[in-house]
Symmetry: none
Subunit: 88 residues, 2 copies
Amino acid sequence: MDTGDRLLTPGEVAALFRVDPKTVTRWAAAGRIGSIRTPGGHRRFRESEVRALLEGEGMLDEAEEMGKPRNVGPAASTGPGPANAGMY
Amino acid sequence: MDTGDRLLTPGEVAALFRVDPKTVTRWAAAGRIGSIRTPGGHRRFRESEVRALLEGEGMLDEAEEMGKPRNVGPAASTGPGPANAGMY
DNA sequence: TTATACTTGGGTAATTCGGGTC
DNA sequence: CATGTCCGAATTACCCAAGTAT
């Protein structure tokens, strides 16, 4: 089925996180947050995913996370939390 | 397999992409998305094509989810070569 | 036939993009 | 290393009126 969640614009996500839209764009470019691109090139973000990030997604042990742009491994680590888009 | 051949109206596609119906019409006019024209001049879009675009089938780099199961779908889809000449 | 909802077209703001810099 | 701001350019959003679709 469809993901069923609405899509948010960079400005919306930026307002939710209290950051600049440009910062949100960088998160998407770094792969830290999933992004859907419109045929025109603009990005759209999943409401559920943004929400999970805002909630803190149950990450209690926030370990320090820094250098990560180099995704060498298959997947696995990197993530303070499952930044995956939860589909419910 | 005709399940994915349903035709969607500009309003439907616009709602899926979280954009204005006018923008969808512009995509069709620019050749970024296939469109069928009704005798009256209105446009209709193929559900399969829109779905593929939403999934981000054209994504290669960013938004690399790590904890995402590599779902190897058997159906490669369709492809009539959607004349996608879009790039930014 | 009438009626309502939607789509079309052009034009003008607002937003976003990408890169570069601090 | 991450974030905020600058610029130019592209894309998108909302305004109008008229026609089509159901």
